[in-house]
Structures are given as C-alpha cells and as structure tokens.
Assembly symmetry: none
Homo-oligomer: 202 residues x 4
DNA sequence: CTATAACCGAGACGGTACGTCCAGTCTTTGG
DNA sequence: CCAAAGACTGGACGTACCGTCTCGGTTATAG
C-alpha cells in the first residue's frame, strides 16, 4: 500500500482504520469484477465501501493504485512456486498455472484492466512492473538459471528475452484477444520454446 | 470504422465533407503524438480540427475509433511486404520493421494507447484486431506457410501459436515496458524462435 | 409573416408548395397541443411535416412565427362578432366566448406559449400584438364606442384602459394560473367593470 | 427555491458556501438585466460567478429557479406596505408602487422573463405564484378586506376577481406591451375599479 | 424545347448549451 | 489526527437543436 514504513514510531492521533482499508479493497475488487475498469471510479468505490473519498485519496494516489492493491491482495496466494522437476515440466507447470489463473478466477479481466490503465498512468505502470511482473519474473529467472546450470538450455542465452518469448505470447493473447488461452496453446508454446532454447545439438 | 462500403448507391442529402474528415484525423493524430491518450478528448479534437463535436460523433462511435482510424491512416504505408529471402531473414526483416516503426515514428505510443483503450472498449478491441492485427498476421501467416512448404520449419506447426511466439514478445515489451525494444532483442528473439520452429534434426 | 405581398408579378421558378405549407402548420399545431412550446422545435416540425428544415426557414423567421401562423389558422374562425344587444350583454358574450376558446379548444396553452415566447422574441411580440391582440381590440373598441354613443358608459372614458380592465384580468389568469377562468369569474368581472365604467349616477 | 427550512439540525459534511450562493444570484441578476432571458444560460451564470455548473444544479432545478431567486433577492425590499389611508388612496399607492418598480428598476424585464419562462416550466410557474404573486396578493387582500369592513366596497364582492380586475390590467400591459404603464393609466384604472367595486348607491 | 430559376426533401456542417458524471480538493462534525 | 460526509471548482461527456449550407431532383416561367 503506498507506504512500506513498518509503523516504527507510534504516531499521534487516530490510527489508520484497518476495516476501512479492507472495505475499500473488497469494494474495488468487486467493482472491477462486475463492471471492469469502465465504471471503476473512486466515487463508486467510496460509496460501496461506505467510506469518504478523501480516505481513499489519503492512502492511494490514483484509481489504478487501488486496483493494483486489490488485485495483488486477491491473486498473490494463487500462484505456485516451482517444484523439483526437469526444465520443460517446470516451465509447463508455471505457464499453465498462470494461464489458469487468468482464465478461471476472473483475474484475467483485472490484469487486462490494469495493463490498459497503465498505458495512460506511468506511476501505475511502474508499480505494476515492480510489484507484479518483476515478482513473477524473479521466480521465472530462477527456473531458467537452474536449467542453464544443468545444461538443459544454452548458457549464452539472454534470459530476459527467453522469458519474454514464453510469457509475451501469453500476455499478448490476453490483451489482444485474437486467440484463446487454451491448454493446447500452452503445450505448443512451451514445446517450441524449449526447443528454441536448447543447446546446439552438436 | 467510418465506411468500408464503396458508396454504391448515391444517397440523398448533403454529402460527407472529406476535408472535415481529414482535418479530424490529422488533429487526432497530432494530439495523440503530443499528449498521448490522456488529453485525447473529443472536444480537443473538435477544437483543433475546427469542427463541431457532432461531426465527430456522426462518423465515429468513440474516441478510440477515431484514434484507430488516425493511426491506420498514418501507419499503413510504413510497414513492408516480405521479399524473396530465406525464412530467418524474412522473419528478421519483418520483426525489425515493426519494432522500428514502434520505436522511431512515435507510433509505439499510439499503439499502446489503442491497446490500452481497447481493454475497456470491446468495439475498439474488435476493430483493432480486425483492421490492424489481422492485417499484419495475414502477411506473417504467408511467410510461415512458405517456410513450411520449403521445409524450413516443422509442418505440424500451429502457425497461430508460432506467430504469437515471435510477435507476442514484441507487444509485451511495448506494453509492459520492462525491457527495451532493442535490435539485439529482435536478433535473439528471431534466433530462438527459428530454432524452436525448425524441423527435428533427425 | 408568411405572405403580405399579393403575388403581383408572376415570378420565375417553381412556386411555393401549398401542401408543404399546410403540412407545416398542421404539424406545428399538433406539436404545440401535444407538447407545448417545450418540445416545439423546428426540427420536430420538419420531421413531422415530412419537410426539409430549409423550407421552414425560407418562409418563417423563427419558431414563434410558425406558432403564431398555426395558431391564427386554427383560431380565427372561432371568435364571434358582436350582435345587436345592450352593452353589458355584448361584453359578457364577447368575454365568455374568448374564455371558452381558451378553455375548451386547447388554445389556451398555445396562447400561453406564444405570449411566453414573445417575452424573449421582439418580432414575435410585435406580430402577436398586430395580428391577434389588435384584431380583437378592434372589435372590442367598436363595442365600447357604441356603448359610449348610447350613453351606457361614461364618455370621458379612456377606452384602451377600459379594455385592459376587462381583458387584462382574463389574460392574467390565463398566464399566471393562480385562479381558474370560470364562468362565475367572467360574470363578476363584467359586472364590476360595467358598474365602474357607467356614467355618474347624478 | 434553495431551502426555507431554518437549518434545524446541524448536518455533517461541508456546509453550503454562502459566498458562492450570493455570487450566483448576483451574476444571474446582472445577466438578466443586461441580456434578458435570451442569453441567460446556466453556463453563463457559472462562468460569470466563477462557479462550477454542478454547484448551480445542486441548489436550483432550472434556470428559471435561479432567476426567480435572484429576482426576489433584488426586489423584495422595494415594495411598500399599506399605510393608514382611505381605500382609493391605498389602492392607488399600491398600484403606483408596483408600476414604478416595473418601470424604473429594470425589474419589469425580469418579471416578463420569469412569466415567459413559467409558461414552459410548471415548477417555475408554481414557485413564481407562491413566492411572488401570492405574497403580493396577501397584502392586496388585506387592503380589500379592510375596505369591505369599513363599507367602502361591496361586501358580496369576490375579492380574488377584484384583485385581478386591478392587477390583471397592469400585468397585461407589462406582458403584451400594447400600451405603456403610465401614471395616467394607473389613475384611470384605479378610478374605474373603485367605482365598480363600490356599494350600490341606493 | 431548352435554359434558368426558385422550389423541395434530405441531411451534413460549425456551433452553443444542455444536464450528468467524476476528478481531486476543501471544510465541516464527530470519534 | 483520522474518518464520514458532502460541497466546491473544473472539465469532458454525449445529446439536442440551432441556423446555414450543399446535394440531387422537381416544377415553373422565359426565351
């Protein structure tokens, strides 16, 4: 949420109302799921949460920031950590998990909304990159590095590009909507990528 | 958006003013380039174009539709058709051309704006898919099919997935902005993809 | 409004379309009666009459002018001429007739609309005065003069003021709506006025 | 329009801004006087008052309501209360005062505008009746009742009709503009009315 | 019998104002 | 000092009409 500071020194005055915060994030998430980003307004959130607009502005700089917090609140628990498998399997498990979250939990719409809004709001874009994308890439990077160490992929690989090769296609389908995020798609995608990243057969 | 139908039957009443149409698209494009989608308002376009708001609403259903027409007007001439080369070269040329258009002609920001707006506006999303993405994919598909015919890539390939493997990464970097759209990126991307799509070495 | 010049020299070109004119006045009257002056728009009249807007503007300068013509067309036949009776009876008959037209033929609303619009449109005000009020006053003046000649009212009377004494109350109730235009009202009104205008009893 | 209720219970939230209210009414009055009801727009008032349109719409339902409040603000202090005189003198003083207000203080135009607008806007019509006409009639009614008690006018008189006999003529000349609101007119009018309302000479 | 002119319907045009919504800020009362 | 309530300025929205202006097409008179 906006801050980070771990409430070091007990400050004067009334403390932040945790109930209000939770109420705001719940209201935000339910509005996002019901109506998408259109119709996602600060006034609407305040009304549904039973909260003054100023209370929202005190803690979040923009509607996108609220949406991002609500999204992370709802979605952080859902994504798995890699288990001890070979590289193709690990990659397939990771991508499948992400696609399923997008497809099954009405989360895809929220991600679309957030990335759409981020095209207009640079602060949101940065926050989304740092708090969502980068967190996921950290996990992904570990998987690729381990695969490099065990010789399952080339060691002159640009890992950032390799990650984008796989996940770019997923986000592209999510955002452009020209093709479905099917399990077959994930299978082929991982297959082509694994081959493309493998060491030269010589 | 505006038409499509080739004005078959002469209609009654005053005819559409081509000068106004051009003026609107120019104004729209220049506002998009100057200020991005924030600050891209119907009122602003009307004012800069010297046109009544109603004239815009008469022909376009939303600001996104205006932006799309303006974008296509400006960008259609810039993208090349494939020449007679081997598959890796053709792919590299195509992807490089797209990335350069995004990078060099202030067009990247417009595409970001359009795709961002499309997350909220389903009509715009459909139009963007049909009139931009699909047009580009048609070219891309031909390249992949030719490569298939000449045995440069596997013939059990899902071409749609293959296209997304390459172009997804480009759009992902454009929209998420976590890494630059550099020429090195394009080089590696095409390299990994070509390997991944190649026939089994056996 | 509509005419004036009695078609002296036959002019070149297509002549005025009488059907269109009638259609416009009918449409105007029916819109006035249905919706009042709010909702009485040139576009609405043109649409209902099946006529181009320009055709209306060619012949009338404003919506008020159309309304006035439509009103006079519909109402001129309804008001009676004075018969050969004594003054109080003549006055009562005249006022009663006017009040009944206002009450019974949905004409009251149109007069209210016209006088309301005239507060804003000086040309309409002048036309309404000349073509309606003055026409009615001419009849009224004759009645008062005859009464003066026969000694039924004072001969030092200011006839204009006397007319306003009677008709002013009627129009006031029509426009302000604070009291109904009942027959009892007319009776009392004429009674008080006749007494007030009578010669001194000495 | 705005309230009336004497702010019984102190409410939560920011209180109504008296400066904004005054600024709106001043702007409204000055626009009315300068340009009449044509050119009297909510946007114009907001601009001149330095106020958002929503602030006007929050407190008044229509431009007519604003005009009425501005009018009453400006005019309430100007009309006198009856003094201790005989009936004809009292009536003459009252009518003369009203006519002078109409003539001399640019208030006539505003009343014309209000009554014109009221022909189209029923809410305004009701408010104008209750807050202006009825307030004036209350004073007038007292004068007539006192005259009845002292035998200066008939006691079977319909006072409402009697009031309209006098004031109807004034408003008629104001609204129709066919004759001036001169002092001679007032003199004759009161003279004829007083005679007409007097008890039978027997 | 052809020009020329004024008419007609339709409807696009540049504008103005509407009334609504929301943004982001400010000012109250009250916990 | 925080929270709720809600009034404030401001700006864009999408709509409705305004009055003007082309369009293609239709009667009329004049040559």
């Amino acid at each position: 949420m906006s801050d980070g500071a771990p409430a070091e020194r007990r400050e004067r005055g009334r403390t932040r109302d945790a109930a209000a915060t939770a109420s705001i994030l719940n209201a935000a998430m339910s509005i996002l799921v019901e109506k998408g980003l259109a119709g996602f307004t600060i006034e609407g959130i305040a009304a549904r949460a039973g909260v003054g607009k100023a209370t929202i502005y005190r803690w979040w700089p923009s509607r996108g920031a609220v949406a991002l917090d609500a999204f992370l609140d709802a979605v952080q628990p859902l994504v798995p950590y890699p288990e001890d498998e070979d590289f193709p399997t690990q990659l397939r498990v990771q991508v499948t998990a992400l696609v399923r979250v997008f497809r099954d939990h009405e989360v895809g719409g929220v991600v679309r909304a957030l990335m759409g809004e981020a095209q207009t709001d640079p602060d949101l874009a940065a926050a989304f990159r740092d708090r969502w994308l980068e967190a996921r890439r950290t996990v992904g990077r570990a998987v690729f590095r381990e695969a490099q160490r065990t010789g399952q992929i080339r060691d002159d690989l640009d890992i950032e590009t390799a990650i984008d090769l796989v996940y770019g296609a997923v986000y592209f389908r999510l955002l452009a909507g020209h093709q479905p995020l099917s399990d077959e798609f994930v299978g082929d995608l991982v297959d082509y990528a694994v081959r493309g990243l493998a060491p030269s057969s010589t």
